[in-house]
Structure formats: structure tokens, C-alpha cells
Symmetry: C2
Subunit: 382 residues, 2 copies
Amino acid sequence: MNAHSGNRSVGIVEPRSVRFDEPLALACGRDLPGFELVYETYGELNPRRSNAILICHALSGHHHAAGYHSEDDKKPGWWDECIGPGKPIDTTRFFVVSLNNIGGCHGSTGPSSINPLTGEVWGPDFPSLRARDWVNSQARLADYLGIDCWAAVIGGSLGGMQAMRWSLEYPDRIRHCIVIAAAMKLSAQNLAFNEVARQAILSDPAFADGHYLERGTLPARGLALARMVGHITYLSDHAMASKFGRDLRSGSFEQGNEEDVEFQVQSYLRYQGNQFSGSFDANTYMLMTRALDYFDLAREYDNDPVKAFRHAQCSFLVISFSTDWRFSPARSREIVNALIAADRPVTYAEIEADEGHDAFLLPIPRYMDVFSAYMRRVGVED
Amino acid sequence: MNAHSGNRSVGIVEPRSVRFDEPLALACGRDLPGFELVYETYGELNPRRSNAILICHALSGHHHAAGYHSEDDKKPGWWDECIGPGKPIDTTRFFVVSLNNIGGCHGSTGPSSINPLTGEVWGPDFPSLRARDWVNSQARLADYLGIDCWAAVIGGSLGGMQAMRWSLEYPDRIRHCIVIAAAMKLSAQNLAFNEVARQAILSDPAFADGHYLERGTLPARGLALARMVGHITYLSDHAMASKFGRDLRSGSFEQGNEEDVEFQVQSYLRYQGNQFSGSFDANTYMLMTRALDYFDLAREYDNDPVKAFRHAQCSFLVISFSTDWRFSPARSREIVNALIAADRPVTYAEIEADEGHDAFLLPIPRYMDVFSAYMRRVGVED
């Protein structure tokens, strides 16, 4: 038994990929002329195909949500805390599907892929996407896997927005919708932070209006800056204070030593920014933040979320975190209030947590308990 | 009577300038070899020289705090709401002094000035500054104007930090200290936002490590980005929501029109960023944000603010604003608690206001009332 196959890990997993040749009609009015999806699965699909769970990823997520890719792999998938035997999304009961969305940069068709119509890299010409496009492409994957109806569609942040969109677009293909640390639309402040992030990328000369792959340049500084801005919004003031305070990494405030003063939080942010810019695609970041900006659950329902949710037929679990200031508990309560007014079954938990928006990725005991308890009620034989 | 000489305006004002030839020993250990200060005054100094008020400016402020520079001037000074006949800082009673700090970019000696030792522009070689250096240079100005003791030293944000530093460094030269929307030190989150702002400037190739003046370039994009980040932190989520919501400036979410979608808040932020980058100096921005980062009221007092404030002899007014998340009411209450523990007279008001940090610049009725009431108690004949 190796380090990566403990009792509560899904162990070594392997990404798969599937190609869809039929064009996908997008919300922007354009067609995506066929596309590839990279995905992973954990657990076994039962004979009645009634135990399938779809994981929708957030801004910088991907298909690798749980387990390890090799024995040497140092870090598990991004939501390993929640997916595995005995974890909230229990792989001894459920068949879990996690994919990289179209527009992404981890293997599914996106801006770094070749546009079959031109033979060139899509780059900035990749079509603009909305959450509904992801939902439609995920429905194709469900068809391919023979899943008529998801036991649950689950997502945090932008992933929660996709889960809500599933409940409206395919009401008969989803039995439970689990929306964590999300909102029905972005606030002006959310839009503002995304704008700064995009401007940081656009301002980097190496971005070259998105044609950096052809030019052989990489907008690493712009993307790092964008990530730094984002990262601040993922952490609470309190989390930053307890993680770093005003600790110095170098220099001191003694006379003459000030030139080298660097706070821990500064070097941490720069590190995070640089790590990210080495592993993420700038055009994908532009596209994903725009999809976030454009998401507005009720736009096509006369801007009335109650009217929107009347189309849903599933049950809902909504979870928020007390110090999340990106999508605060107030935003989750808006979702809950609309669901109640639309007479939909909904369970809501506001979790006390110091970690801000990032809390949705962490094994906070009450969060795990609430999530697990709800998931135990998600039947797989009906 | 013209538009700029209403009952409550100080009318047309003229900046003056004074040169100090004696070097100023700085906290960093270096000397500033003589310096120039640009300042304005409003009202009349009384014969006993007991009615002088010092205004300390914040990050992007300057000497022009009230009145107009010409008949054609469209905008008054930055704190015109608070300075003038019948306003909280009543120029029929007080002699108000407002200066541009050293390191600034509005006429006082700063990174854009010539270093007399080299005959070249200081640029990034301008010495690192701390709030205490500003206080010491302001004391020189007081000497020059024949002001032994300020009736009050007043500042918002970074200006409030200078006011507090005055109370510790020159306890016998200040009778009232008025600290608005400030903090005793920056939080990790505050530091993080400043770091992103500086990285935005550093990332702009036109910044050229601060040598842009010699190169004839201007890091306009970097500075605009830095300002955009800052601007988000000056406004509350609520203020942004009521000012812009999710209103579109162009485009629509109809199929095919999405390429042009731009939210009002995006274009507003870009406009603010561009305006700022046309009128502010990047090296000054770097220097000012570092001074903010380094400010720590109690560092030299065993990190004990109570011990620090025991050195003060003046009375304090502390004001905070309910939706200010840059320097929240909790940060002001820390100041108040330390003052109480140090047995110093303090008045505290938390003003309900939707406008966030920027509220300190606005004529919010209860703010004006509290501020005016306190200032009426500031004697000028004692």
C-alpha cells in the first residue's frame, strides 16, 4: 500500500478524453465546431445509472478534482478534501464525474487549441462562453456516459453557478443541486475586481492582444498580477492576518536596513501569482472572468429569480461561509429566499469559517458534517 | 461676486512655496539635503498665533485642500467640503495650513525633483520616507510660519496617521489631534493591496525601474492599474452597487452583441485610472504606499499603543465610517481603546455612511455635525 491509496483517497486516477464532433450552439450566437472534453471519474456507476455526480469547477479549476496522477504526485486533486471514500461525496456510493470545461486550459478545447476551420490556434478568437454553454457541453458528456439524470450536480463559486444553471436548463436531469459559496450574479465590486485582473493581462505587452502563442511570448507578469488581485478576494482579512500578520520576510525597520523590507504577505502573493502564471492560460483567464461577469441567473426570466427557480424540479443545498466577502452569505441567502418563494425544497447552512471564499476547498468540520449529512440523503436507488 | 466666492468658500487661493536649506535627517538613516514645500493657507493667523490648523493629506492628496486656483477652476480643493467659512474647519476662526508633503508630486521636493548632489532627477533614488519624516518637515513649516503649537492637526486615512505621529513626536506642539478613517498600522490585506498596486507599476516596461523621466517614457498603464486597485478599496460594495449596479455602458446580452458588453463600473474604473495616471507620479506612488506599509504607531514603543499614547498630551477626535473596509471602524476602535487605556481625552464617532473609505471626503450630515461640534470646542484664545 502506497502513500496515495489511504482509506479515504480515491488513489491513482487517470484522465480520459472524449471528442464530440457535432457543433455546439453557443449563447453568443456562434457555434463551436466540435470539441474535446477531458474528464476523470471516481467510484463506480451503478447498474441503474442513478448514482452519478457531476462536479463543476470554478475559475481556475479543472478535471483533476480528487486522487493522484502518479505515485510521485505531491498534491492530490483540487477538491480531494470532499471527494473520496467516507468523504462528503462518498465514492463508495457515488460515481463522480469531473471535467475540464470548454474554454479551459487543461486539455479540453479552449483558446490554446487549434481552430479546425483555420488550422491555427484559436487564441483570442475563441468564442465567448457563458455558464449555459458549459452546462450544454456537460450534458453531452452525460449522454456519452449514459447518464440520464445526475443524482447531484455540485459546484463551488463559478461551479455553483453552473449547478444552478443545470437546475433550470435540464430540470429533469438533476435530482439535487448543491451550490457552495456562489451568487446569482456578480456585484459591481466583483465586476470591478475582474476588470482590474483583465486590465493587468491586457496591459502586459507580451499578451499581444491574445496572440502570444503565435508570437512565442507569455504574458506571465500580467497573469501573475491578475491572480494576485483574485487571490486577495479569496482570502478573508482575518485569514490573511492570522496567516501573515505584518511579519517580515526580509529587512528590518532599523535605520539603514529599510531598503530590503519585505512583508511575508507580499512574497506569498508574488509566489502565488508566479506559480499560477506558469500553469494557466491568459486567454482562458479572460474568458472565464467574462463568463463570471455575464452570469445572471434570472436575466432570461424577467430578472426574477423566483420565476427562474420555478423551472427547477430538484432539491437544493446552499452553503456559504461567514468571512467570504467575494460571495458573502448575504448572496447565498438571496438564492435561498428565491428558492423558498418558488416553493423549492432547500437546505441552507452558513458555516462559521475564518478562511474567506477559499473555505469551500477546506475540510472545515461543520462544513464536512453538513455536506456529508445532505449527501447521505441523496438516494441512489430511486 | 463670482461663482467661486460663495458664502461658504475660501474663494480664490494661491499656493506658496518655501525652501529649507538645512538637511533633514530621515528615519531611513539618510539625509534629505534641503527641500522645498508647497503650501496654501486659508483664514488669518490670530495675533497670539493660537488658531493654526495643519491639514495632513492622504496617499494622492496635496496642498490644494480648499478654494479655487482661478475663476475658471472647475473643481475646488480636495477637502473643500470641510474647510471654509461655516464649515467644520471654519476659516472665520482658524488659520488653516495645507501642504504637499515631501516625496509628493505637486511641487514639494520629491522623486521628480533634481537631486542637488548629482544635478539629476532623483527618480527611484529618492530616499524612502516614513510618516515621521513628514511630521518633521511639517514642523519646519510650523517654525517658518511662527506657529509654536497647532490648535489642531487633522488628517484622514494616511493623513490621520501623520496626525497621530504628531501627537507622539511633538506632544507640546499640538492641542487637538483629529484622526479620520485611519488605523494604527496596515493589516495584511491592506499590505496585499498595496503590493498589487506597486507590482502593477513595476510590471509596466515604461516604468524602467523608476528611471522613466530620464528615458522620456511614462508608466501610464501601470499607474492606472494601481489606481484602479486602490479605487476599489476606497468604495464600499454598497456604494459601487448603488452607483453602478450591473448597468451596461455598451453592448447587450442579446445573441451576437456580446462582444461589446461593457459594464458601467468597468469604464468608470478605467476612466479613474487614466485620469490619475495623467496627473500623478509613479515614483511618488511607490514611495507613499511604502510609507503606508511601514507605518506602525507603536513599533518604537514596544509594540504597545497604550505606551505610545502616554506620550501624547493633546485631546483626540477619532471618526470612522460604517462601510469603510479599507480602515474599518474596528481599526478606529483600536485607537480609541488605546487612548482610553492611556488616559487620554478622546471623542469617538462612528458615522453611518454608505460610501466606504471615501466617505471622509464627503459632506455627510452627521459627520459634518460631529466634526463641527468638536471644532467649536477647539479654543483659539488659550
